[in-house]
């Protein structure tokens, strides 16, 4: 069995895949979650054929990356740990100071990209941000309350919760990750608010990182907007046509801390627009990257 392509970064082993020529402008693709992985974003490999070096990575403790102890995610500085991982990944793949660096984030990945830009506004050439739930914790809670409304008598609840009654084990990563995969049944069930057509591919959930990071946000909160006024480069901010919990007005509100926003709607897709809406997303992203390369 071939080894999982990986890199030792910031004290952990991350699953990393890169496509294209290392001297081309760098695009780091950041997946959602927390606790997701980049499998559903892989169509973005196409950008390598357009002259970009495209790097995907599974974040700390999720996907095919090394599992970490829960305490890492409970610490007050947990979000900084994710930012540091991204910074060290960029350092590893950037071959020189003249090479341009772009971020392309989806959902939580777009939030993390913003957190990075907020901390290092001078390091990033441009960013494509696809439906970050919010850029502050209260804003994110607001979005979550609309995007995942719980329907007690729904098939979605059965698909999500019944495996809990059948699968034993409460502490092993393998079991927790498998059980966490059923949670995606809820957000992808027929009639879901976020407009997903169905299930989308993934490798392996990171149950501990997902749960602990949600608890972390609930306990400490976050605000990724405090320094965004310094980032005057245009960002491409994407929202999807079928996500009824998002829409243009929410996109305008979430993106408003950025001084220079190019707001566009991805047609024919819901929240998982990299998988279900790539044909419409791709030319928008490519046009943006080409303008700034």
């Amino acid at each position: 069995m071939p080894a999982v392509p990986s890199q030792q970064i910031n004290g952990t082993l991350l699953h990393v895949e890169s496509y294209g020529t290392s001297t081309d402008p760098l695009i780091v693709v950041i997946h959602g979650g927390p606790g997701g992985d980049f499998r559903s974003l892989l169509d973005a490999r196409e950008l390598a054929d357009d002259g970009f070096h495209v790097v995907f990575y599974d974040q700390r403790g999720t996907g095919l990356s090394e599992r970490e102890h829960r305490g890492q995610f409970e610490d007050k500085g947990a979000i900084d740990l994710f930012i540091d991982d991204l910074d060290k990944l960029i350092t590893l793949y950037r071959i020189g100071p003249d090479q341009k660096v772009f971020l392309m984030g989806h959902s939580w990945g777009a939030m993390l990209a913003t957190a990075y830009i907020n901390k290092y506004p001078d390091k990033i050439t441009g960013a494509v941000l696809a439906e970050p739930g919010g850029l502050t914790w209260p804003q994110t809670e607001d979005y979550l309350s609309r995007s995942n409304e719980v329907k007690l008598f729904s098939e979605a609840i059965n698909n999500t919760l019944l495996p809990e009654s059948m699968i034993a084990g409460k502490s092993q990563h393998e079991i927790l990750d498998y059980k966490a995969s059923f949670f995606s049944s809820y957000e992808n069930a027929p009639g879901n608010a976020i407009g997903n057509e169905g299930e989308y591919p993934f490798w392996r959930n990171g149950a501990v990182s997902a749960e602990a990071m949600n608890e972390h946000a609930d306990r400490y909160g976050f605000d990724f907007t405090t320094n965004l006024h310094q980032y005057t480069t245009e960002i491409l901010f994407l929202y999807s046509e079928k996500n009824s919990a998002y829409g243009r007005s929410w996109a305008e509100q979430v993106s408003s801390p950025y001084p220079n926003v190019n707001l566009q709607m991805v047609l024919g897709s819901g929240h998982e627009m990299f998988f279900f809406g790539w044909t419409d997303l791709y030319p928008r992203a490519l046009n943006y990257f080409n303008q700034l390369r």
Partner: protein, 136 residues
């Protein structure tokens, strides 16, 4: 961020408040031989179902041999279900207080786009209750 935390709260609520169907009041059996019931509750989701129990009378104590079949609410009627076959008896009674024991075998089916699962299990339940006839 996704809303897994909300659903985890739901899980714990459903686990801790799951209900047991077909609790038998042995004081009120009289000469009844057949027990038929319908039930609804929450047990890793909301469900409804039917139950049947046969009362086997012997020299020692009445024993209820029962079966129940539960379906979760939802749009797909029989993709998930749970059946239980049980033997239940009263261990002792004193002035309206009654202790019951129940041994059950459980068979479950789960189906979604992600997985099909069949599950066999068992459980043993001890329950203590107080039953007082109306007007007594």
């Amino acid at each position: 961020m996704k809303t897994k935390n909300f659903l985890l709260i739901l899980i714990s609520a459903f686990v801790h408040y799951s209900l047991l169907a077909q609790e038998v009041n042995f004081r009120g059996l009289d000469n009844t031989k057949h027990l038929i019931g319908i039930q609804s509750g929450v047990d890793y989701g909301s469900y409804y179902g039917v139950s049947y129990g046969y009362v086997w009378r012997n020299k020692l104590t009445p024993i209820v041999i029962g079966t129940e079949f539960n379906l979760p609410f939802g749009s797909n009627l029989v993709d998930d279900w749970k059946s239980r076959t049980s033997v239940q008896a009263e261990l002792f009674n004193y002035k309206g207080w009654s202790a019951n024991a129940r041994l059950s075998s459980i068979f479950r089916r789960y189906n979604s786009e992600l997985a099909n699962m069949l599950n066999v299990g068992s459980d043993f339940t001890l329950s203590l209750g107080y039953a007082k006839p109306l007007g007594a």
